[in-house]
Symmetry: C2
Subunit: 340 residues, 2 copies
């Protein structure tokens, strides 16, 4: 209250407590070799002058901003929310803050991404798809000395700490589920072609189809962009044909919901006339009627693990280099037997 207007610094605290600044620093950082008595005195002084540490000064000298970035594209809101929750969960009691870095189109801005991260003074970043598949970004990150961990990369697994899922098997399994229900006229709504997951999931579908001798002609494949709208539009196209399919496999849940609504709008029933599957098990798949059969990819868990890998590197703990996460087929009400 004596202070006119500027914020109190450790110098003020030191003077008030009658000790040196280094002692104040020691007390404030909980370092050893200080008497109980002095600790008391310093803490009282800090309270008395209303001291609050200046994080920027601390960051400068420690070369640590305590900022972690999350890089993602933005197609699916529920995916992004899961991602954020996971990273935040791990960072909660860690004194790191989360900076969100949505990039409109990573494939188009590969070269600029790390410049952006640099200018934000991030200590580390979690790379969500498709950034997690960019050799260029990982290269630049290494050059810049920014630690990173990857979520669901599909290639160059050795290139950095990775959280893996088996998109191919997951896709195969959900396709097998639909085939087991007797469907043979099956259409696919694929994801954003710039995301490698779209390839992997398609590959899994094809494996199941091939094994069962089910055809997948080109006119049964529609391209989406992992958004609700694109799934809706794709389904309309697929259903407009005279030989409409009896099942649609969407490559994520948002598109599946889009397909579901388009189907219901057209007067068909699900799963009576048409079965629909999603992918990821995001929240949207649970809040529809009928609820959507999907395959759970543990996005939240991967985000927790990825954040953990980043933190480990920053603390010089040996980071886990690679971790696999399990998927799980979740059968709900959007799939049923093939109609006669």
């Amino acid at each position: 209250m004596v202070q006119s207007h500027r914020r109190a610094t450790i110098v003020d605290v030191a003077r008030h407590a009658g000790v040196s600044t280094k002692t104040v620093s020691r007390v404030l950082n909980g370092q050893p070799h200080v008497t109980e008595d002095i600790i008391r005195k310093v803490k009282d002084a800090a309270a008395a002058v209303d001291y609050h540490p200046n994080m920027m000064a601390r960051a400068l000298v420690q070369r640590r901003s305590h900022l972690i970035g999350l890089v993602y594209e933005n197609p699916s809101p529920s995916y992004v929310v899961d991602l954020q929750k996971g990273v935040l969960e791990r960072l909660r009691d860690e004194h790191y803050r989360l900076v969100v870095i949505p990039i409109a189109s990573i494939s188009q801005h590969e070269a600029d991404v790390v410049g952006l991260l640099r200018s934000a003074a991030l200590d580390g970043v979690v790379l969500a798809p498709p950034a997690s598949d960019s050799a260029r970004i990982m290269q630049d990150l290494t050059t810049a000395g920014i630690r990173f961990a990857r979520i669901a990369p599909t290639r160059l697994i050795e290139a950095g700490p990775s959280n893996l899922i088996d998109d191919v098997s997951a896709a195969r399994e959900i396709a097998e589920h639909v085939i087991r229900l007797g469907h043979r006229d099956i259409a696919v709504i694929s994801g954003d072609p710039t995301h490698a997951s779209a390839d992997a999931r398609m590959q899994g579908f094809r494996q199941a189809f091939a094994a069962a001798g089910v055809p997948l002609p080109a006119h049964r494949i529609a391209t989406g962009y992992y958004t609700y709208e694109s799934g809706h539009a794709a389904a309309r196209t697929l259903l407009a044909r005279r030989d409409r399919p009896t099942a649609i496999l969407a490559q994520n849940d948002d598109m599946a919901v889009g397909a579901l609504i388009a189907t219901l709008e057209s007067g068909l029933t699900v799963p009576g006339d048409l079965s629909i599957t999603g992918f990821d098990d995001s929240e949207v798949a649970r809040i529809t009627w009928p609820a959507i059969t999907t395959v759970r990819q543990p996005v939240f868990d991967m985000a927790v693990a990825a954040a953990d890998m980043v933190v480990a590197q920053l603390q010089d703990t040996a980071p886990l280099m690679c971790r696999s996460h399990r998927h799980e087929l979740i059968v709900r009400q959007s799939t049923g037997p093939c109609p006669a």
Copy 2:
């Protein structure tokens, strides 16, 4: 490449270019009074030594971290996504970064929030409900010298830059819509009681009911928490009674979706047997079948405006102190005439 390992600083650039550090700083910040010739030389030198500015040093001396926070509770994912998109939209070309600060329960942690923000070295924050209604938080923010702007506060409007919506009128209008359709047995699912919006919306409902002489007995009011699950549970309770309502007014869209699914699960049709309304017009209200009648609250626009108010304060531009945003009744397929 001569440098062993440490990052290049302006000192390196200065030496390389044969000028002083101040000149380098001037060039890098685009300040006047430098010859074209020198500008060239400095820029070349910067590129040659692979210089990248250290944002923490800059932050320290400028007393600006260039970090903006977004404080929110987490009930509704789509609300949060809209909020984030809005703030990011305004910050996009502004050289500010967004730090997300979800708080589990603001009403329980009021006293700690600003400490958290302080320790994150934020220049400013956008306060979403219910933080935007906390006198304590605003007080602490002012003390800490952190600029802020509020989204949808309901009280103490003068206490800081605010983006207002008229929740009372919006609620009244949507209730009137349902009453006009002939409903008189109407139930309400209210929002989280710690959010002032729940009160305001209830007040609007009551105005409409009173004007039309429609009763609202206590057993027709169920308390939710702005989540899908709470809406689902509340609807189950409301529908379990013998004298079930013919319409349910939910105080946000997530709860309305929960109510919709619960209704469909119980074998009733919407809007045939029961009409349902939401609130906010978030994405979830569009991606159900039937789509949900709601009243649009421009969350995205408010977030853009709030971010703008924060940036304006940081740039010493006179900030707009108060801005009103319009709501709009959006009639979709979840409401229909009262069944006979």
